[in-house]
């Protein structure tokens, strides 16, 4: 490390560590592993209180309907039923997501699965029976599911007409200026003159790529237990952001934030879907407030598929010009995002076009992203939300451009590589080493000496793709952390985050131990509870390491300085002469320890509480490169070797290498697990996953884990090589940035490009199911007749 840290923390910025790392960079096992392998980890489903009621939600069977009447009388008379809520008694009530209101029980339901009523009863059986006895009079309305139909003049309008829309249309607005378009028009990024660019081109290609709705498929179905007691709501939840859930619930029920406590110790997968307070938790809370009893609400697997905000599907139109010498002269793109009937769209309004805008050095670019509303379920953050859409479409397109002029795709990417954020204004990223990542993955799979098999039934090929992910400390959250050092020498790190399985509790403890100069075993961690911790971002958008990391580092450094100050007094030295390492205190110039850290705490005999806060990144939102001096993102690449069975159309990923720019890897063992998770999500997106909806009714036809295929041990590649690109980035704790997201983004295009290399056909509709691949092969005329 050479440069001084520029951590975006409040107040004093700790100087860089003046010694080699002792904890950071080691392969440490995750802290909660023993509980997990012994079945002792208590997830929300495992928490039970005496007197618990069971809740069940009634959902609309229609994709678009006006609710004329809800009759709950028969349901209420079922023995054991304690409360029924619906429009009748909860009329102008809103649930909140990211602080944005959504009607709790809308008059107009916008998708099949929209909540209509909820019941709490003594047994799950009674709750189920009661839900079945609620009589609802629906007036069915015409519905629209396809993005292009939704944009046409004669489309039904997807909107809650009973709502005066608070501004910030995270969901369908009342009167969209253009039919069913979020925000009334597209988000646009452009530079130069595309028409001129097309004139200069030797080849102009026009293509359309489609990508599916991807579901998170968290293995734990959403479950919570809500407890209203003594004027306080406690929610044992499965959510990624306890502080955000607390805020949302307080808004929904007009409570003071201190009246809400959210606890999530263990969670069975989130991948973005469980950020903040989710709708289902609001119903449980409402029922608990009505009955004064603990209420447990557990969604079924089918409800998971039908109701949680999934990744939007997309249709990406691209037209690009390229010169024979390999230079891209123009890119024009329009992506139609099927945002369903609402959810969280605003934060993603540019995200499917950032990649083509920033990654390539092309002077003439015009890109539009349209968020289109349809009568399908909500959409929202999903591991690399729209990044995977842009990488899948554009990295596919890039290979076609390279092929059109007969150039090697890797060479083509290097030729058009943009080291800047904005290539015209020459603004910079805090760090960008995508070139190294591309080189590394391709070397790993033997790009130039592939053992390709181009004859016979089974054929092999290799492909690559790149991505950028901008979830590195952006708007709007503040991160806080506290490090308390007790007189016995043990430290306690307190953070308001959830460890959703990425190992955040472990990595953050490592930062605290490193900065304090103690052994990792001497750091306890308190997290997953809004009581006893300070505000922190949710564990989504790969925020924890880049945002909470600096706050933890600062808190630990402050605690250390407090100890040194007290100790210096007693030892008659200046605090600046002291340093700590591996649980011992040294005089800076001396190699021998003066005393142990524990002894030092005893002697110092003061209360030590270090605090750290990190503000969001400076610069405009979204995190574009146009105006701010420094921009933040992570980058990476994937290369894959696939085998195609030309008879059945099946594709198997044989090997795959992923490289991600972490800045610094805090714990290689945990980081590898993130690579694997990314590969699994990417392979699913490329080859197997996608919601199938009935064209006429919009009903999802594969809302189960048999027909919605998630890769298993049989589909995962035999070999996955994880490459961590490490390079200094002074804005983050020891340069460390996250990597839960990003990695999956380039996997689909790498696979699809490898399929081309193997069999010579481009598949532009994802997932590449056998039917689609065989159709392309047939077009090429390479199948024998039987």
């Amino acid at each position: 490390m050479t440069a001084e840290p520029k951590l975006l923390v409040k107040g004093w910025v700790p100087p860089k560590l003046d010694r080699p790392f002792t904890v950071v960079g080691r392969r440490i096992n995750r802290r909660d592993a023993v509980e997990k392998v012994c079945g002792k980890a208590l997830y929300a489903n495992d928490i039970h209180f005496p007197g618990t009621l069971y809740a069940k939600i009634l959902r609309s069977p229609h994709p678009h309907a006006r609710i004329k009447k809800v009759d709950t009388s028969r349901a209420e008379s079922v023995p054991g039923v304690k409360a029924v809520i619906s429009r009748n008694n909860f009329k102008d009530w809103y649930t909140y997501w990211y602080k944005i209101p959504q009607p709790g029980f809308p008059e107009i339901v916008l998708y099949a699965g929209h909540e209509v009523a909820a019941v709490a009863a003594e047994t799950p059986e009674a709750a189920n029976e009661a839900v079945g006895l609620i009589e609802v009079e629906y007036e069915r309305l015409p519905a629209v599911f396809d993005v292009e139909e939704a944009l046409s003049e004669c489309s039904p309008v997807v909107s809650y007409s009973d709502v005066v829309v608070p501004e910030g249309p995270f969901y369908a607005t009342d009167k969209p200026p253009v039919r069913n378009v979020w925000g009334g028009g597209p988000a646009v990024l452009s530079r130069g003159d595309v028409e001129k660019g097309f004139e200069e081109a030797d080849v102009v290609l026009e293509r359309v790529y489609t990508t599916p709705f991807q579901h998170h498929g968290t293995l734990q179905t959403r479950t919570c237990v809500a407890l209203w007691e003594g004027g306080r709501l406690t929610l044992y939840d499965s959510c990624q952001g306890i502080w955000q859930a607390k805020e949302d619930l307080a808004l929904s029920f007009r409570l003071k934030p201190e009246q809400v406590r959210v606890i999530v110790k263990y969670m069975g997968g989130g991948f973005g879907s469980k950020s903040g307070a989710q709708r289902y938790a609001h119903y449980a809370a409402a029922l608990s407030m009505l009955t004064g009893r603990p209420v447990r609400l557990e969604l079924t697997r089918a409800e998971e598929f039908l109701s949680h905000p999934r990744r939007p599907a997309a249709k990406f139109y691209l037209k690009s010009g390229v010169k024979k010498n390999g230079r891209i002269t123009a890119v024009w793109g329009r992506v139609l995002i099927n945002a369903g009937s609402g959810g969280a769209y605003k934060p993603f309004k540019h995200d499917a076009i950032l990649h083509p805008f920033y990654l390539y050095d092309c002077p003439n670019v015009h890109l539009e992203q349209w968020g289109v509303l349809t009568n399908l379920q909500f959409t929202g953050p999903t591991r690399s939300p729209l990044n995977i859409i842009s990488s899948t479409a554009f990295e596919s397109h890039v290979d076609e451009l390279a092929a059109a002029i007969g150039m090697d795709p890797l060479k083509f990417r290097f030729m058009n590589y943009n080291p800047y954020a904005d290539p015209v204004k020459k603004t910079r990223f805090s760090a960008k080493n995508l070139d190294k990542a591309m080189q590394a993955v391709c070397e790993e799979i033997g790009w130039d000496s592939p053992q390709r098999q181009h004859n016979g039934r089974y054929r092999t090929g290799r492909g690559m793709a790149v991505y950028m992910f901008h979830g590195v400390g952006f708007h709007p959250y503040e991160a806080n952390a506290e490090v308390v050092v007790k007189p016995d020498g043990r430290a306690e790190l307190r953070m308001g985050i959830v460890d959703i399985g990425t190992g955040s509790a472990t990595t953050m403890a490592m930062v605290a131990a490193e900065e304090l100069g103690v052994n990792l075993e001497d750091v306890d961690v308190m997290y997953g509870d809004t009581d006893g911790t300070m505000y922190a971002p949710g564990s989504h958008a790969s925020r924890v390491i880049p945002e909470v990391g600096p706050a933890v580092l600062k808190a630990a450094a402050e605690a250390r300085e407090q100890l040194f100050a007290a100790l210096a007094d007693k030892l008659k030295v200046a605090p600046s002469e002291l340093r700590s390492e591996r649980g011992f205190i040294y005089l800076k110039e001396d190699g021998r320890p003066l005393l142990s850290f524990r002894e030092a705490c005893r002697i110092a005999n003061v209360e030590i509480v270090g605090r750290g806060s990190r503000a969001p990144n400076p610069g405009p939102y979204p995190r574009g490169g146009e105006t701010s001096a420094v921009n933040f993102a992570t980058f990476g690449a994937t290369a894959a070797v696939v085998e195609v069975d030309t008879w059945t159309g099946k594709v198997r990923v044989v090997r795959c290498a992923t490289a991600h720019e972490f800045g610094r890897v805090l714990n290689p063992k945990l980081v590898e697990s993130q690579h694997y998770g990314g590969v699994l999500f990417g392979i699913g997106y490329a080859l197997y996953e996608g919601a199938v909806h009935d064209k006429k009714t919009g009903i999802m036809l594969n809302a189960d884990l048999l027909n919605y295929k998630i890769p298993t041990t049989l589909e995962m590649p035999e070999e996955i090589v994880c490459i961590n690109i490490e390079a200094e980035d002074p804005y983050f704790a020891y340069s460390a940035k996250g990597g839960a997201e990003g990695i999956n983004s380039a996997v689909p295009a790498a696979i699809r490009n490898a399929v081309y290399d193997a069999v010579g056909v481009w598949v532009n509709d994802f997932p590449i199911i056998p039917e689609r691949l065989l159709r392309e092969l047939e077009k090429m005329g390479s199948r024998d007749a039987v």
């Binding site: 997990k36 392998v37 079945g39 968290t218 293995l219 734990q220 069975g268 990425t502 998630i710 995962m716």
Partner: protein, 158 residues
């Protein structure tokens, strides 16, 4: 004819004899989780699609959500809580931790129990056996490469 609704069952769970009164439609998973408080067995779908609820019943891996408690009467069941009974962790559990074969941990009991059934079934185990034995358990976090490493090491394959 009087329809039976509530029945007394008795089975051996993790070595000890347990009794409970159950409904005819109660599943083994519900019996374990709700009556016996053994919540280590997880439910991910409650309909035989995900494998999270896998336990070893009379030496075979079963989806406990697909077995009725009345049909488990008289059987011997091993759950994840029974793996480490007695002195410390089971070697397979240790290997799972060492190889980080878990992330969120929700699928972990299912993988551990499927593998336990496999390893109990015969002496010689290949990597293919391992792969197939856990192909019926879903892990959305993508712990598979590490799960295979842990299992292969346990089987003496590496």
């Amino acid at each position: 004819m009087v329809l039976k609704t509530s029945v007394e069952v008795e089975l051996k769970v993790n070595g000890s004899l347990r009794k409970a009164k159950v409904n005819v439609y109660t599943t083994l998973a519900e019996l374990l989780r709700e009556k016996f408080g053994l919540t280590g067995t997880k439910l991910g779908c409650n309909r035989g699609e995900c494998g999270a609820c896998t336990v070893v019943m009379d030496g075979k891996p079963v989806y406990s959500c697909m077995v009725l408690a009345v049909d488990a009467d008289g059987s011997e069941v091993l759950t994840v809580e029974g793996l480490s009974a007695g002195e410390g962790l089971h070697p397979l559990q240790k290997l799972f931790i060492e190889h980080d074969a878990l992330q969120c941990g929700y699928c972990t009991p299912g993988f551990l129990m499927s593998l336990t059934a496999l390893f109990q079934s015969r002496e010689k185990i290949t990597l293919e056996d391992i792969k197939h034995s856990v192909a019926g358990v879903v892990c959305r976090c993508g712990a598979h490469p590490n799960i295979l490493r842990a299992a292969a090491e346990y089987a003496g394959l590496r």
